[in-house]
């Protein structure tokens, strides 16, 4: 198991290096520096700016210096907001994004697993069709449509909930979390239904029933453990999806999180901020994937044995 984790960690290194290199050279292959679009700046000022941001060096030297800084955890200064470093901005935005992602995941897992399990207990009945049709709606309703619709209905027409902001008014976190979480709730519902269906027809479930265990214990203790393996495998990609989903949701609901910063940086052509966030997001995604692989391996005895068997 430890070997498995280590080997996956080692695999992550070249991936990250590719991310850093590709991003760096993509950005530097664009004609014109980040300041060339601004108002006419005196040549001396321009030169000083270029020197300050090391833009006067050859590209490969900029690259080595950037990677060098990166190893010490320094993502450099922001081009657009003088005096603020990319690190500062990430620290400022991250807690909001994490909080939003956490609530969204909570929504997704709670609703998704419950709906999926309920559907799987009586397949091909109303109890199956209704939650699964709702799940299909969740999949076909992208967050940039669902969010505004929720705002329109719950916020403006019914006036139940605040429509934007983050932590200013009680209840303003509900709509963003619902918007971001619903698509994943739908996927999780489908996966847990599929997993449960397969598990519930296995011999050991029959054995558990034959022992006279109550249906609750059979489902919750014996069924869920196997039935949720597909869900755990999905959690890694889901976290990655939550991050990109946060671009839209944070923009719609005006949440000062990383996703919104990224979109703004993209529009402002704030190159160091783009690079910093890209690297940050990539690292996070790679580690979430690793984490969910490890979790899936740990939950599935068959896979676990494979790795303990010295593979």
């Amino acid at each position: 198991m430890l070997r498995f984790i280590l080997s996956r960690l080692l695999q992550a290194v070249p991936v990250l290096l590719v991310v850093i290199t590709v991003t760096f050279f993509l950005i530097h292959s664009v004609p014109g520096g980040p300041f060339s679009a601004d108002r006419a700046v005196a040549p001396a000022v321009m030169k000083a700016l270029n020197a300050q941001y090391k833009l006067d060096l050859p590209v490969w030297q900029q690259y080595t210096s950037y990677v060098g800084d990166l190893l010490t955890g320094d993502l450099g200064p922001s081009f657009k907001y003088p005096g603020r470093s990319v690190n500062e901005m990430i620290y400022a935005g991250l807690p909001n994004t994490v909080e939003l992602g956490f609530y969204a995941m909570l929504v997704a897992v709670c609703i998704g697993v419950v709906a999926g399990v309920i559907a799987a207990l009586k397949p091909n009945t109303k109890q199956d069709y209704i939650p699964m049709s709702l799940a299909m709606i969740g999949i076909c309703m992208p967050s940039f449509l669902l969010g505004p619709l929720l705002v329109l209905v719950c916020g403006i027409w019914m006036d139940w909930l605040p429509v934007s902001g983050w932590g200013d008014i009680p209840g303003d976190k509900i709509l963003p979390a619902l918007t971001l979480g619903s698509a994943y709730a739908a996927y999780i519902a489908r996966l847990s239904r599929g997993g449960m269906l397969e598990v519930m027809s296995q011999d050991y479930i029959r054995t558990a029933r034959a022992k006279g265990l109550s249906e609750w214990v059979v489902v919750l203790k014996h069924g869920l453990r196997g039935g949720l393996i597909p869900v755990t495998a999905f959690l890694g990609p889901a976290f990655a999806g939550l991050l990109s989903g946060s671009f839209v949701v944070e923009t719609i609901f005006q949440i000062p999180g990383l996703g919104r910063f990224y979109v703004q940086a993209a529009f402002n052509r704030d190159y160091t901020m783009i690079m910093g966030t890209t690297i940050f997001f990539s690292t996070a995604i790679i580690f979430f994937n690793l984490f969910s692989d490890v979790l899936a391996t740990w939950l599935d005895p068959k896979l676990r044995q494979q790795f303990q068997g010295g593979k």
Binding site: F144, L149, L152, L191, G194, V248, A266
Partner: protein, 292 residues
């Protein structure tokens, strides 16, 4: 030789017929197919059937709710929404199909070559896929669109380049098992070149899963395009797509909710249709894979 060929043909046909029969029993999938065909036909003939021209403004009218003259209402500039949704559909569907086509082409060829050649080449090729898989592509697409301007060709390429990975994996898996089978050995023994074998014998046999996955890729590509257009990074005006219409609709949804609701509804229906059709095809063509 002839009789063996006939036998093969019959087997091949019966697989598809079998799948068709199974698909016909799936009402949702048929409905999805019907809706999809309807949308494609409408998209193809849009320029000849639209009630108003695309840029025709009626500033006196302004944003009006749905009426007999304008079935889906008009936008702030008095442009007919039905016309705009129809033109938007052309772009959305086109992006969906072309980008999926790019993904299909790259994925199938790459996967087939990796699986057929095998050994170190396969290991190296699949390792590349693994690395690309781990890249956060959404971020890269945004980056590409920001850096190199927002042109459609780049959009097709960028989306297609993301979606081919899963296709390559699926095809490779299929090819690995196909390789072991007698008919491939037979083809090798009569001296066909590897490329001919891949083209004539391997790829046709992987069609089932490929069709299924293609059908499911189209909606995710359309979603991606809509997402980028929503952020202002995809399709640019004066061209229009459903995602772009939705993003305009959001700006004025308080006053003119129909500007958000109709494009949104259309996009959702299209995605619904494609997903149901894809699920149905998976059940019909690939009974083993239909777990959920």
């Amino acid at each position: 030789m002839t009789s063996a060929k006939e036998f093969d043909d019959e087997q091949g046909v019966s697989l598809w017929q079998d799948a068709w029969v199974r698909l016909q029993h799936n009402r949702l999938a048929l409905l999805g197919m019907g809706v999809l065909i309807f949308m494609i036909v409408i998209a193809l003939i849009t320029p000849w059937i639209v009630p108003y021209s695309y840029e025709e403004q009626d500033l006196m009218l302004g944003a009006a709710p749905p009426s007999m003259a304008h079935w889906l209402g008009t936008d702030v500039l008095g442009r007919d929404m039905l016309t705009r949704v129809m033109y938007g559909g052309r772009v959305s569907l086109m992006v969906g199909f072309i980008a999926t086509g790019v993904a299909l082409l790259i994925g199938v060829v790459y996967g087939a070559v990796a699986g057929y050649v095998g050994g170190r080449v396969d290991a190296a090729m699949m390792r590349l896929v693994d690395i690309l898989y781990a890249l956060p592509f959404m971020i890269f697409i945004i980056l590409l669109m920001v850096l190199f301007g927002r042109n459609m060709l780049l959009l097709f390429l960028a989306i297609g380049a993301v979606e081919w990975l899963t296709m390559a994996r699926i095809v490779r898996g299929q090819v690995l098992s196909l390789r072991q089978q007698e008919f491939v050995e037979a083809a090798i023994s009569i001296g066909l070149s590897p490329w001919t074998i891949i083209r004539r014998h391997i790829i046709p046999n992987t069609l089932g899963p490929v069709i299924v996955y293609t059908t499911l890729t189209i909606p995710s590509v359309m979603l991606l395009e809509a997402f980028l257009s929503f952020l202002g990074l995809g399709i640019q005006p004066p061209q229009s797509s459903w995602g772009l219409l939705i993003s305009y609709g959001v700006e004025t949804m308080e006053e003119y909710p129909w500007l958000l609701i109709y494009p949104g509804l259309t996009l959702s229906i299209a995605l619904f249709a494609l997903n149901f059709l894809g699920d149905g095809l998976r059940d019909a063509l690939d009974p083993k894979a239909s777990k959920d």
